[in-house]
Point group: C2
DNA sequence: GGACCACTTGAAGAGCCATTCATGTGTTCA
DNA sequence: TGAACACATGAATGGCTCTTCAAGTGGTCC
């Protein structure tokens, strides 16, 4: 994806948003919009993990964790595989890991107050 | 603590999450977790826009839009500058645009069911 | 079979959040 | 000055969501 000048980009973010469905995009991003799920995903990025161990790692009750895991699974962000009496959870694929990575990266830089090119006036679009 | 080193990645996502503050990360991502704000940001990515015109572009009431704009401004995602009797809104910087871009990109690919490298233990799922 | 473990599921309650309605502030123009 | 415009603000409402408590299901080992 090109940074900087994308002067002749025919597909706008707005079009893509409505194509995919703004509600669906919002729903997926909502998965990253809570501390508990954020911690779950971050822990899972280090490797697969059983449910109880996972709940313990992120410091939440096992039941609450299970509820969130179901939500994440329904969104296609994590997978769960039965192994003995445990169920091993893992990130669905690298896209999820990358999305988490990007979110972290950007927020880290936003918090610092770092600003590069102001997006305000560079390209005249009308 | 490392001083902004990206190359040598000994810091896990979990560490970074807690360093920045999971709640703050969640709060910022929450800004992208609703259709209305998503549309606002997507419209703003095309260029600056006055409040009323913006509300009209995303199809929401002026008051509701103003409330959301305040929220986005408090999060440091957009800026508003008075010009005449209008107030021109714009994305704060390119990081915001990129974050939106990344979110769109990833969700587009998630929805397709596309999967590349499994992020962890190969598993057959449900 | 029965005790036990790992995890899920359902319901209920508290808190939060986005929208609406009504009103308030600031600006331009006649 | 007053009317009209552009936008912000406050309160109230309805809906949604995260958590907790209390069962319920599937699996293992003796």
């Amino acid at each position: 994806m090109g940074h900087g000048a994308d002067a002749k980009n025919t597909t706008t973010a707005r079009e893509r948003l409505e194509t995919v469905g703004a509600a669906d995009v919002a729903a997926t991003l909502q998965a990253l919009a809570t501390p508990s799920r954020l911690r779950i995903l971050a822990r899972l990025q280090e490797g697969p993990c059983a449910a109880t161990e996972l709940a313990d790692a992120v410091g939440m009750e096992q039941s609450a964790c299970s509820h969130q895991l179901r939500l994440l699974r329904n969104l296609g962000l994590v997978t769960g595989e039965r192994r003995g009496r445990s169920i091993i959870y893992a990130l669905y694929d690298n896209h999820v890991a990358e999305l988490l990575e990007q979110a972290l990266y950007h927020v880290e830089h936003l918090r610092v107050g770092l600003r590069d090119t102001p997006a305000s006036a560079p390209t005249a679009v009308t």
